[in-house]
Every structure is written in structure tokens, then in C-alpha cells.
């Protein structure tokens, strides 16, 4: 067919260039401006400040903790899917989609209830005699990781399930017939197969933690501050847009570096493909 499709693409292409690429370029340019013209002072001030530096490191740490915990819980759920029949598989997909499609603010609210002084965790610990008095996990790093892990878990489960659903069950039978135990099949057959899905999930989870403003602000509280809140503070309270841009670029670069690293790992045949 000779008819060209290009004219159909033009509107969205223009939209992307004018309203996405341009603002991004302006943001980067803006981060290099100050009261007296072009300058690197925004970056100097941001990275030179001990508090800001700690916030940046804490944000990276939170991202990695979320990635690690979602992986730890996501893999067994994916394996549960793999070993389940048709109906159970449908149920697992449904149970994953509900939290994923439920508003982030709603899920954050649920965690306020769970982590609070009068919440189920505190009540259970007191009832079992593990804690002397009611306690709150709000405004703690542990509470935040528990919440972020639940909120981002579907992002890692769905890519894993997408791979497993395309794989026929007979796939592991050869290994089984040759006498391999379940752990061996998991490590040598299933895990390598799931690796591209894991990488996709890690990228999604990490990107999500770097913009989950509400959860970090509400559950983290005033004591645990992360980069998104710093950006918002510069814009909303201090009105320093150049500084906000510089912080945004730093956030972008740190996620970007990780993204590139993960893509490179996923292209590395020896790690992803057969050993």
C-alpha cells in the first residue's frame, strides 16, 4: 500500500515537540540562569548544601528499597501465577489490577489507617504483647517503605505475568523430566526468563518513586523529606523557579542514569538470555 501514514502522525508529533520537548529544554536552560545571567550557582548551591545532599541520597535509597522489596514480593506472586490454573490466574490478575487502578491518594489514605497509632499493626502488636503501648509507624522510613512497596508492587507483577502468560506450561517440563528440583528450575529456567520483565518493572517502580509526591509527603511526614517535596517547596513557598529547575534536572539525571544502566544490563545477553 502506497498511501503514506505520516500526515496522521503530525498532530501528535507537533504536540510532543511544542508541549513536551520544548518545555523540557526550557527547564534545562532555566536551571542555568540566576539573577545575573548564566550561572552554575543553582547546582552549586543545591549539591553544596549538606541537607539537600542528604535528601538526594535518601530519595535514591528509598527508590532502591522500594525496588528491592517489590522484587522480593513480586517474584513469589509471579510464581504463584505460574503454578496456578486458568481461573486462579484470572483472579491473580484481577487482584493486581484493583490496587493498581485505585487512586494513589486512596492507597496512601489506607496506609495512614494501617500505620497509625490506632491501626491494625499497632493493635496486633499490643494484643500479642509484643509492644507495651500503641505506636505509630507514620513519619518513619519503615512505614513509608511498607506503603510505597504495596503501591508500586503491581508495576513489577504485571510485566512478569505478561511474560509468564505467553509461556506454555510445558516449558519447564523438560527440566522436570530430567530430574531438576523446583529450586533449580526456578533459578535456571524461570528466573532468566523473567529477567526482562524484572528490568521493565524496576524502571517503572524507580520512576514512580521519584514522583510520588503525596505518599512521601503524607507518610514520610516532616522528618523524612524527599526530592519531589524540595522541588515543590522551591516553587510553592520560595518562588525560586531556577533552583526548582536545577533540582528537577538532578532528579531527571539520577533516574536517567539508572534507566540507561538498566537498559544496558537488559541488552547484555549473557545476563538475560541463557547462561
Amino acid at each position: 500500500m502506497k498511501a503514506s501514514g505520516f500526515p496522521y502522525v503530525i498532530p501528535m508529533l507537533l504536540l510532543s515537540v511544542a508541549f513536551f520537548a520544548t518545555p523540557l529544554a526550557v527547564l534545562i536552560g532555566f536551571s542555568f540562569t540566576g539573577p545575573d545571567g548564566l550561572t552554575l550557582s543553582n547546582y552549586g548551591r543545591f549539591l553544596g548544601d549538606a541537607f539537600n545532599y542528604r535528601v538526594l541520597m535518601n530519595t535514591a535509597k528509598l527508590g532502591l528499597q522500594t525496588v528491592a522489596s517489590t522484587t522480593l514480593l513480586g517474584i513469589p506472586i509471579a510464581l504463584l501465577y505460574w503454578h496456578s490454573g486458568k481461573t486462579a490466574r484470572q483472579v491473580i490478575i484481577f487482584l493486581t489490577l484493583i490496587p493498581m487502578l485505585t487512586s494513589n491518594v486512596v492507597r496512601t489514605f489506607a496506609w495512614i489507617v494501617i500505620l497509625g497509632r490506632q491501626g491494625p499493626i499497632s493493635e496486633t502488636f499490643v494484643a500479642l504483647g509484643l509492644a507495651g503501648q500503641p505506636f505509630s509507624l507514620m513519619s518513619t522510613e519503615l512505614g513509608l517503605v511498607l506503603a510505597m512497596c504495596q503501591i508500586d508492587l503491581p508495576l513489577i507483577i504485571l510485566p512478569l505475568i505478561a511474560i509468564l502468560s505467553r509461556t506454555p506450561v510445558q516449558f519447564t517440563e523438560a527440566a522436570q523430566v530430567s530430574g531438576a528440583g523446583p529450586w533449580r528450575i526456578f533459578v535456571t529456567v524461570l528466573l532468566p526468563m523473567m529477567l526482562p520483565g524484572l528490568l521493565a518493572g524496576w524502571i517503572l517502580v524507580f520512576a514512580s518513586t521519584s514522583s510520588s509526591f503525596v505518599t512521601q509527603a503524607v507518610i514520610g511526614g516532616a522528618r523524612n523529606v524527599y526530592v519531589p517535596q524540595l522541588i515543590y517547596r522551591e516553587v510553592g513557598t520560595l518562588f525560586d523557579w531556577s533552583m526548582a529547575s536545577a533540582i528537577a534536572v538532578v532528579l531527571l539525571l539520577s533516574t536517567g542514569i539508572l534507566l540507561v544502566a538498566m537498559t544496558m544490563i537488559s541488552r547484555h545477553r549473557r545476563l538475560v538470555g541463557h547462561a
Binding site: S4, Y8, L27, S103, A207, S245
Partner: protein
């Protein structure tokens, strides 16, 4: 690591790992949703869980137009923005999908990253960038600026959902229609769009849900008058931990469930074709 011949970890531990730990993880994933729903029916004034008694007082308070006027306005704004964002992504992303399906694979893979880029960029960074540019050109934060931002950030979801379907459509179907003398618009309306419909519906569903829930773009682009629902909930949580938030959560979860069930019913039969 476990490449040794003899297996160091017994097989029943694998079963415990998959069915025990996997099952528990699944409960951990869903429990907060159930807790939010049950919390909303509390008769108490606080967020004590388990709730002290059953009542629908918080739903009554939420639906009362006088006591929850601000929340009603915020919900209206959010629904309006989400509907317009769906409309915007239909106008931009669906034609792009149709066009891309007719182009060479090499051209597609050189343009596609630009169209999909907004999905990878932290939307908070985009909100800030859009605010700076809008301010340069002389636009103040408004409902329309928010809608534009949502179309840019969530339009790619529509594109991606529709192109998955578009890739599976046999190009000779449109060709046959043209050969038999149908004009391009007739072919589009009677052949291409109906075939694309499951993808468009899935895309519309995703754009709507994401737009309704968005904080990080609306935070920068919405003005004081156009408070959106998630930001209003955020404010209620920060100010007073109002139990009406639980009722709002209940309504939103119910909405998600209904839309999800409808989407599965509508999309499932076509999938097997």
C-alpha cells in the same frame, strides 16, 4: 548459585515460598483496599481500625451538598479534566496510531520514542517545565492548561494501547475497502476505527483513570479555583484527617471496580478474535 548437582534447599520450601509467601504477598497487596472500604463505614470520629461500629454517616456527610460543597466542586473539576483529557488523547493519539501502522518499521522506531517519552519522565518534572513555559508565554494556571498537560502526559497511554491492537490488524482489510471504491473517510469509519475500538477503549480507560488520580501535573498547572479531587483529598488528610476521606476512598474504589468489570466485559470477547 544453585548450579550444584545436589540441591541444598529442600523442595517443600519452594512450595512454602510460592504458595505461602506468594499468597501472603497477594494479601498484603489487596488488604489496604479492603481496609479503606471497611474504614469508610465506621460510626466513629477517628481512624481507629477495626472500626467501632457500622454506619453510613460519612457517606451522608460526603453527599450532603452543603457540608461537602468544596469536595463536590473538586470532583466536578476532576471529572471534567479527565473527560477532556480522554477527548484530547483521542484527537491526537488515535490518528497517530493509524498513521504509524501504515509507515515503515524503521521510520516508526525513530519517531516512537519521542511520542512515548512522556511516560518515562517523572510527571512532577514535566509539571514544573510546563508551568515555566506557560508563564513565559503569558498563560496563568487554569483548567485548560491542566487539560493540555494531561493530554501531553497521558496521550501516550492511548497511543500505546491502540497501537498494540493496530499491529494485529491485517492491512489488506482497509485495502479491500479502498479497492471496492470506498472513500478514505468511509474506510476509516467502517473498517479501521471499528477494528481499533478495543484498543481505543482500553486507552480511554487508562487515560481517564490516570488523569483522575493525577497530582504532580495538576499541582503546578491548576489554579486556586480549579481544585482537583486528589489535591482536595490531600489537603483534607494534611489538615484534619477528616473521615470523609474514607468515604471518598470508598466511592473511588467502587468506581474503579465498576469500570474494571465493564472494561473486562467489553474487551474480553474481541480479544479472542
Amino acid at each position: 548459585m544453585h548450579n550444584k548437582r545436589e540441591n541444598p534447599i529442600p523442595a517443600f520450601l519452594y512450595k512454602a515460598f510460592v504458595f505461602g509467601f506468594g499468597g501472603l504477598s497477594l494479601i498484603y497487596l489487596v488488604a489496604p483496599i479492603i481496609i479503606a472500604i471497611t474504614m469508610s463505614f465506621t460510626s466513629g470520629q477517628s481512624l481507629k481500625y477495626p472500626p467501632q461500629g457500622f454506619s453510613i454517616r460519612w457517606y451522608e456527610a460526603l453527599f450532603d451538598p452543603i457540608r461537602s460543597g468544596t469536595e463536590h466542586i473538586a470532583a466536578g473539576n476532576s471529572l471534567k479534566i479527565a473527560a477532556l483529557a480522554v477527548l484530547g488523547s483521542l484527537l491526537f493519539a488515535v490518528p497517530a496510531t493509524i498513521g504509524m501502522a501504515r509507515m515503515k518499521r524503521s521510520t516508526v522506531s525513530s519517531i516512537e520514542p519521542l511520542l512515548l517519552a512522556p511516560l518515562v519522565l517523572p510527571s512532577l518534572v514535566y509539571g514544573l517545565a510546563a508551568l515555566i513555559v506557560a508563564n513565559f508565554v503569558g498563560f496563568q494556571p487554569s483548567l485548560w492548561l491542566t487539560v493540555t498537560g494531561h493530554v501531553v502526559v497521558f496521550g501516550p497511554l492511548m497511543y500505546r494501547a491502540a497501537s498494540v491492537v493496530a499491529q494485529g490488524i491485517n492491512p489488506s482489510l482497509a485495502e479491500a475497502s479502498t479497492v471496492m471504491g470506498a472513500r478514505w473517510f468511509t474506510t476509516l469509519r467502517r473498517v479501521t476505527l471499528p477494528l481499533l475500538l478495543p484498543g481505543i477503549l482500553a486507552g480511554a480507560f487508562l487515560v481517564f483513570i490516570q488523569s483522575l488520580d493525577n497530582v504532580s501535573v495538576s499541582l503546578f498547572l491548576a489554579d486556586a479555583r480549579t481544585t482537583v479531587l486528589p489535591l482536595r483529598m490531600f489537603a483534607l488528610i494534611e489538615e484534619s484527617l477528616d473521615v470523609r476521606v474514607a468515604a471518598m476512598s470508598g466511592v473511588l474504589i467502587a468506581l474503579t471496580l465498576v469500570v474494571l468489570l465493564v472494561a473486562r466485559r467489553v474487551l474480553a470477547p474481541q480479544k479472542q478474535a
